[in-house]
């Protein structure tokens, strides 16, 4: 049963399997294990980023295509939900329509970009997506009438998903294991369930014949073409799929935050974060997304505090405090990034599987 749920792609390493189970349990029972606003928020972010990173892995790890527009697709889903919720009023229909139209729009745009660039050279895709993504980001902050500009949009999700909605008064007295049963909890499980579904769907895609052909193209596109596969067709399809799933994860993010803005969904920093998560977790292994996203989000939330401590400890020394200040977090990530591309191109998952 588990085998068919995971599409026959088992972790193939005891340590990895253990890690995955621990992460799954932590995420599934996060509101009960770690009650607290910040920890539950972290858990929800991890869920969403796992899907986002996994969809990027479909492109980068399986397709061998580098895209810098993944946050653009992510943002499209988020803005889709935000716009329908503001204009149609709060309701589940608005959420559904927003998510679906955002995903559809992302897929169409990915199709267009893919057709333009991938038919010439896969490397064009990286450059064109970089240009298009930054143009879209500028456009979003300029069209403030529609998108709220730099301030973004705050909107209302259905009442059942708000913290004011209480349930289970009669049977459980309103609490379960000391956790209040309210809309926030429901939202968390909506995010968790949605992410889990999308993740399993991605696992299904990469282990299908389609995924196998993608890997063949990544290894040797010339040969794949010679065998008779239309390389462009497969690459463009992968791009569209990955864009649509990224948009759906964006919708989940918007539902969780009840806010969208250029900084939370479209910025280049998030793009770099995604790249890092894929590389650290392991390219070409969907499970790498789980490990990468979890490690990264945890590090982002808690390691920066450590850097602050280190920075204040080294005060008085020349240059070191600035190098260690929490704002320079990206510097160390960049170093880590380069080192991991050189020395662990298969990431954590590749390492663990290699040991076996």
């Amino acid at each position: 049963m588990i085998r068919s749920l995971l599409s026959g792609d088992l972790p193939r390493s005891r340590v990895l399997a253990l890690l995955l189970v621990v992460i799954l349990i932590c995420l599934a029972f996060a509101p009960f294990l770690f009650p607290g606003v910040r920890t539950v928020d972290t858990a929800a972010r991890i869920c969403i980023f796992i899907v986002l990173v996994a969809s990027y892995d479909l492109l980068l790890g399986y397709g061998g295509i580098v895209s810098f527009a993944h946050t653009m697709f992510f943002g499209m889903g988020a803005y889709g939900v935000a716009l329908t919720s503001t204009h149609m009023g709060r309701g589940f229909d608005a959420l559904a329509i927003g998510s679906i139209s955002g995903a559809a729009l992302a897929a169409v745009l990915a199709l267009l970009i893919g057709l333009f660039s991938l038919r010439v050279r896969a490397i064009f895709f990286a450059m064109i997506t970089l240009a298009v993504a930054s143009a879209v980001a500028v456009l979003v902050s300029q069209l403030s009438g529609l998108t709220g500009g730099e301030d973004g949009l705050t909107f209302k999700t259905p009442r059942e998903l708000g913290p004011a909605f209480k349930f289970g008064k009669e049977t459980f007295d309103g609490t379960l294991f000391g956790v209040k049963l309210n809309g926030k909890l429901l939202t968390y499980y909506l995010i968790f369930g949605g992410s889990a579904l999308l993740f399993l769907a991605l696992l299904r895609v990469v282990n299908s014949p389609f995924g196998r052909v993608l890997q063949a193209i990544r290894e040797n596109d010339f040969r794949a073409e010679a065998i008779g596969y239309r390389v462009v067709y497969y690459r463009v399809t992968a791009t569209c799929l990955s864009a649509a799933i990224a948009a759906l994860s964006g919708s989940l993010y918007a539902i969780w935050l009840r806010y969208v803005g250029p900084d939370t969904t479209l910025s280049m920093t998030i793009m770099i974060d995604i790249l890092l998560m894929v590389v650290i977790g392991g390219m070409g292994t969907i499970y790498g997304a789980v490990i990468g996203a979890t490690l990264f989000v945890l590090a982002q939330n808690y390691l920066q505090n450590l850097m602050g401590v280190l920075s204040s400890m080294t005060e008085g020394l020349p240059l070191l405090p600035e190098l260690l200040s929490p704002d320079r977090w990206l510097l160390w990530l960049g170093v880590l990034f380069i080192l991991s591309v050189y020395f662990f191109p298969s990431g954590v998952v590749g390492r663990l599987r290699g040991q076996r």
Binding site: V66, A122, M127, I128, V279, F337
Partner: protein
């Protein structure tokens, strides 16, 4: 017995369209300028816009030329090229700020001397940085596009953050040297003096590059390397050495472009190189990866279009460049002047 069909060769003139096709990209610049005149309607503002468009195009060309040659020669795509632009700007402007007595003097000669010193310092620094970048970051990943993109992107992040560590996170505002402030007026048209300097520098660099590439032996080797690197290597030239030279020269040019760009904007930030990369990529793609002439024409097109559109409909400026790229890729999928690769 039927006679053999007549197939003696006939002398046919190639049609006008066929003969014009190779220079079609060249024609695009004047065509765009005329289209701009029609769109803008007012000749005085058109002149102002055209000069600033050309100035912008020249700066983009300076920054992009190194990237396109590096790609053509060694098939290396350097996403960290923007780091050289930022570093060049920061070093150049810092030098310029220390030369206050030269820049504040109202003499054009002294001001240009100050800029020259700043540019030389920036170019020297970015050349050294380019060498280090090639050694440390690019060298281990030859022949693997995916790793190249990832690793050079990492290099860009590190360079940006180091700039912030050394110069602080705030943007640095400054004013241009005394004699380059203000504008010259022709009738109703006002042309900023600095833009004329930029156009002059850009043309000079383009002419020098063309001379080196077309008339010298090293240029011959570079061009041959872009066409068919393996053959050049087989003939006994150390292509790697040539490549490192081109990489260093390209980085230095990006540094020069960074100083000019910084002086143009009168503000420098650590992210300016990354922002410039967007235009640089568009230019490199529409020019045809590996072609210096294509890069030059592409840069002029982008500069002009950006200025015209920004005047007519400001919000569409960046989108217009993407539209230009899409149009040109539909016309010529490999860019305007595609480099014929034997591999």
């Amino acid at each position: 017995m039927t006679t053999a069909p007549e197939h003696s060769p006939t002398m046919a003139r190639s049609s006008v369209a066929d003969r014009l096709a190779p220079c079609a990209p060249l024609m695009l610049v004047p065509v765009l300028a005329i289209a701009g005149l029609i769109a803008v309607q007012n000749p005085a503002s058109w002149l102002t816009l055209t000069v600033s468009g050309l100035a912008m195009g020249m700066m983009i060309f300076l920054m992009a030329s190194g990237l396109t040659l590096v790609f053509g020669l060694m098939d290396v795509i350097n996403f960290g090229h923007g780091a050289f632009v930022s570093v060049g700007a920061f070093i150049g402007i810092s030098v310029l700020l220390t030369l206050g007595h030269l820049t504040n003097a109202p003499s054009l000669g002294l001001n240009l001397l100050a800029i020259l010193v700043a540019v030389l310092a920036a170019m020297a620094a970015t050349a050294v940085m380019g060498w280090a970048f090639e050694r440390v970051i690019v060298k281990p990943v030859y022949g693997n596009h995916l790793s190249q993109i990832l690793v050079t992107m990492g290099g860009l992040i590190i360079a940006e953050q180091l700039i912030i560590v050394l110069w602080g996170p705030e943007e640095i505002y400054f004013t241009r040297p005394e004699a380059l402030k203000g504008a010259l007026t022709f009738g109703d048209a006002a042309i900023e003096k600095y833009r004329l300097v930029t156009v002059g520098v850009g043309l000079a660099v383009f002419a020098a590059m063309r001379f080196v590439l077309r008339r010298t032996k090293i240029g011959l080797i570079v061009r041959a390397g872009v066409q068919n690197g393996e053959m050049v290597a087989a003939l006994g030239y150390r292509l790697r050495l040539v490549f490192i030279g081109v990489f260093i020269a390209g980085s230095a040019l990006a540094g020069l472009g960074g100083v000019m760009w910084g002086l143009y904007q009168e503000v420098i930030t650590a992210h300016m190189g990354n922002q410039a990369m967007i235009l640089i990529f568009i230019v490199v793609i529409i020019g045809g990866l590996g072609s210096v002439e294509g890069c030059f024409i592409g840069a002029l097109l982008v500069g002009l279009l950006q200025n015209y559109v920004a005047f007519v409909e400001p919000k569409l400026a960046l989108v217009s460049n993407i539209a230009l790229m899409v149009a040109i890729l539909m016309w010529r999928p490999m860019g305007m002047i595609p480099v014929v690769k034997a591999k």
